[in-house]
């Protein structure tokens, strides 16, 4: 993959300026129609999800009080994992987007909500809502692309350290909530210089994150295990497992949103003076959906409708399914590709890309069983050799 502007065949070349603005207008109309039709049923939906989630969490934690009995451990851990996933995905993520602010309920509002997550809501809202949703898939602007730690594009220069990228991605998936917290703090950038390290703003934000992590860890790894008495260790293990399950799940869903093959990325300069229509088109090309059952959509927080979510991040998630066919129709009519595939396919596609980009450009594609030994030798040379060797071999391959 490469940024859309450098592709030999630009997938939006056939669109005129007017087309793009018309797409924008059509999408604005859909948005307005949904906004106008929001009502009691929608409010009931989110309140029901919250109610179910809280009762499921309470019930699961109650079962875990007896988790030294294996069936209780299994049941409690499964329930808590689902509860944590619901809390982060369909509830937390979407409330923090302001999807439910129209209800004017201070208890379910983007400015008051806090979630079961290492990153404090306030910091996450900045990096996610403001940066990621505004600069979606713009290389160098949207840090969600690889979270600043991965090679996400052929245009990024390959370096041997990227060989560890699949492992790194897996570890990040297991402890995703901490990765997000570090990422929201822009840890890499802010730890780099003394001046940045000592910036009072950064220090205050770090303190806030550490406090949140402390509370979260105390709850799952001290307080609830203690309450379980003789089931201390099984409860601790159950809570740890539930957190890892939730992290793996949300990491997978999020990877599917922008990382599968075919999703476009954009050049930094391409968004200067971008119109609303152009912004919409960038969101259309930069996202991918996951197809599946209703339960699957709820468990992904309806991020399975990533395309619809990116077009209308502040529309309630329960409405994405109903507008999806209309959105797809616009894609079809304007000759754009609407990416949608089952979860396993999208996850596999995203992982394939992670692995492909961990290797020098073209390496994976060129490798066949026949030339494998030679390819490995080449890779070793590129890894152990200096910059010069890499450049030479790279050029030879091209």
């Amino acid at each position: 993959m490469t940024v859309i502007q450098k592709k030999p065949e630009n997938p939006i070349e056939h669109l005129t300026r007017e087309d793009i603005e018309l797409i924008g207008k059509e999408l604005d109309t859909i948005r307005q129609e949904v906004r106008d039709s929001l009502g009691a049923d929608d409010a009931k939906y989110i309140r029901t999800v919250i109610d179910v989630q809280r009762k499921l969490e309470l019930g699961s934690r109650a079962v875990l009080l007896f988790s030294k009995f294996p069936p209780a451990w299994v049941l409690g851990t499964a329930g808590l994992s689902v509860a944590k996933i619901l809390e982060n995905m369909e509830i937390g993520h979407n409330i923090l987007h302001g999807q439910w602010d129209w209800m004017r309920d201070p208890k379910i509002h983007s400015t008051t909500w806090e979630w079961d997550m290492a990153s404090p809501a306030e910091q996450w809202k900045h990096s996610h809502n403001e940066l990621h949703h505004t600069y979606t898939n713009v290389i160098g602007k949207d840090n969600d692309l690889g979270y600043g730690i991965m090679r996400v594009d052929e245009d990024q220069k390959w370096h041997p350290m990227y060989l560890a990228q699949p492992l790194w991605n897996f570890i990040n998936a297991c402890f995703f909530e901490y990765g997000i917290a570090a990422y929201d703090l822009e840890l890499g950038k802010n730890l780099a210089t003394k001046k940045r390290r000592n910036d009072p703003k950064f220090r205050a934000a770090t303190k806030q994150v550490l406090k949140k992590i402390r509370n979260q860890a105390a709850k799952d790894y001290v307080v609830h295990p203690l309450l379980s008495g003789p089931s201390f260790l099984p409860t601790l293990a159950a809570n740890f497992t539930a957190n890892v399950v939730r992290n793996l799940w949300s990491h997978s869903v999020i990877m599917c949103g922008h990382f599968p093959e075919g999703v476009e990325t954009f050049e930094k300069t391409s968004i200067d003076g971008e119109t609303r229509g152009e912004w919409y088109v960038r969101q259309m090309l930069g996202s991918a959906n996951i197809s599946g059952s209703k339960a699957m959509h709820i468990m992904t927080g309806n991020l399975s409708h990533q395309v619809e979510h990116h077009l209308f991040p502040d529309l309630p998630s329960n409405r994405y399914a109903e507008i999806a066919p209309r959105v797809k129709e616009i894609f079809d009519r304007y000759g754009l590709t609407y990416h949608s595939a089952p979860l396993y396919k999208q996850v596999a596609s995203a992982w394939h890309k992670v692995i492909r980009l961990s290797l020098p450009n073209g390496w994976l594609a060129e490798t066949t069983p026949k030339n494998a030994p030679a390819q490995v030798v080449k890779l070793v040379r590129m890894t152990t050799g200096g910059k010069k060797v890499r450049r030479q071999l790279m050029r030879a391959a091209a």
Binding site: R54, S110, D116, K125, D314
Partner: protein, 368 residues
């Protein structure tokens, strides 16, 4: 009149307070990032210690467009003073709306409930909902009863009530609770027809029993009553303390007339609807915490106008999607630049607005 006795707090020893605090702290460790109350609310939203709420127990029709709503308040509800009103927050079509309604029930009802009586006004979102659509079992938000439209400690020997339409509601609250104190009472009430008189039967019965003198004006046939005619109908008006509740126009006319007669201090009025906001192009925006006041036009987002004036504003995507710029509007009106929709806030509200896509549509106070 029954005096309001504020519920005396259970006396706690310092040791008990400390223990209670420690238990609460521990409970917070268990439920973080939520609070223990978030879980308790799932099971008992009306319990003591919860945010004040109520449950609609019954909706009883009064006239073709008015109904009495029986509300069971949460356990922290304090007894009201007759004549007072209560602010209720109710979700209409999923959106929380706050309105004030006079309490019409007797104090100390056996079932522990109180009632409000609501007349549906044309295009009234909340009043129409309460009269025609509200169902028993609905949980609503409450504030404690408040208001000054009450009898003084020492009830006047002679009283006059002037009401129109749903203006009868606080007066009914007073009449039902103050039978012994009010010995000489005149009620002048205007409504379109005899059938439209809210509590018509009860008022006529009170009149028949000689408890009050009732003057009904049916405006569909007899026209509106002006202040001068009231003076003619009630010749001993100057001897009476007067309470008036009704449309703004009526109240202003009465206030003028009573002032001319030198009786201004004997007239108590109650406005039950906020003043209609003049919405137009642009307006004065006041940032109450910051102290800055700016003149913003109707086409510029408040965010931009404020920043141009040097106000430090929270901001985000500047296109209405990220909600990084949301601030509470305490009073006023703004226009959503995307669709022209007007959002208004009555004094005391905290309607959250996105400053990046909202322009002033009249004067507004923003809590920032």
């Amino acid at each position: 009149m029954t005096a309001t006795a504020p519920r005396s707090a259970v006396t706690r020893t310092p040791a008990r307070t400390a223990l209670r605090d420690r238990v609460l702290k521990f409970a917070e460790l268990v439920t973080t990032p939520l609070l223990p109350v978030d879980y308790l609310d799932l099971f008992d939203p009306l319990r003591s210690g919860a945010a004040l709420r109520g449950r609609i127990e019954a909706v009883q029709p009064e006239t073709r467009d008015a109904a009495t709503i029986v509300i069971r308040p949460g356990r922290d509800w304090l007894p009201h003073v007759p004549g007072q009103y209560v602010r209720i927050g109710i979700d209409v079509d999923g959106v929380r709306q706050w309105r004030a309604y006079s309490i019409t029930s007797i104090l100390d009802r056996a079932d522990g409930c109180f009632t409000i009586t609501v007349k549906a006004i044309p295009d009234g979102k909340v009043s129409n909902y309460l009269v025609r659509r509200a169902r028993p079992g609905t949980i609503i938000q409450l504030d404690q009863a408040t208001g000054e439209f009450c009898l003084p400690e020492q009830a006047p020997a002679k009283a006059l009530f002037v009401t129109a339409g749903s203006g009868i509601t606080p007066v009914m609250g007073i009449l039902r609770n103050s039978a012994e104190q009010l010995t000489d009472t005149v009620l002048v009430h205007s409504s379109p027809t005899a059938d439209d008189v809210v509590f018509g039967d009860e008022l006529r019965r009170l009149a028949a029993e000689g408890r009050i003198r009732l003057i009904e004006q049916h405006t569909d046939t007899a026209g509106m009553l002006d202040a001068r005619s009231i003076a003619e109908l009630v010749p001993d008006l100057h001897e009476r303390a007067t309470w008036a509740c009704g449309p703004v126009g009526m109240l202003e006319a009465l206030e003028e007339h009573w002032a001319e007669a030198g009786l201004a201090d004997r007239l108590y009025t109650e406005r039950f609807r906020p003043r209609i906001l003049v919405t137009g192009e642009g307006g004065t925006v006041t940032f109450t915490k910051n102290g800055t006041t700016i003149e913003a036009d109707g086409a510029t987002p408040i965010l931009d106008a404020a920043e141009d004036a040097g106000v430090l504003m929270p901001s985000g995507c500047r296109m209405g999607i990220c909600f990084g710029c949301v601030l509470p509007m305490r009073e006023g009106a703004v226009r959503d630049l995307r669709n022209g929709e007007i959002t208004t806030a009555a004094p005391g509200d905290g309607v959250l607005i996105q400053t990046c896509i909202s322009a002033a549509a009249g004067a507004c106070d923003i809590d920032h």
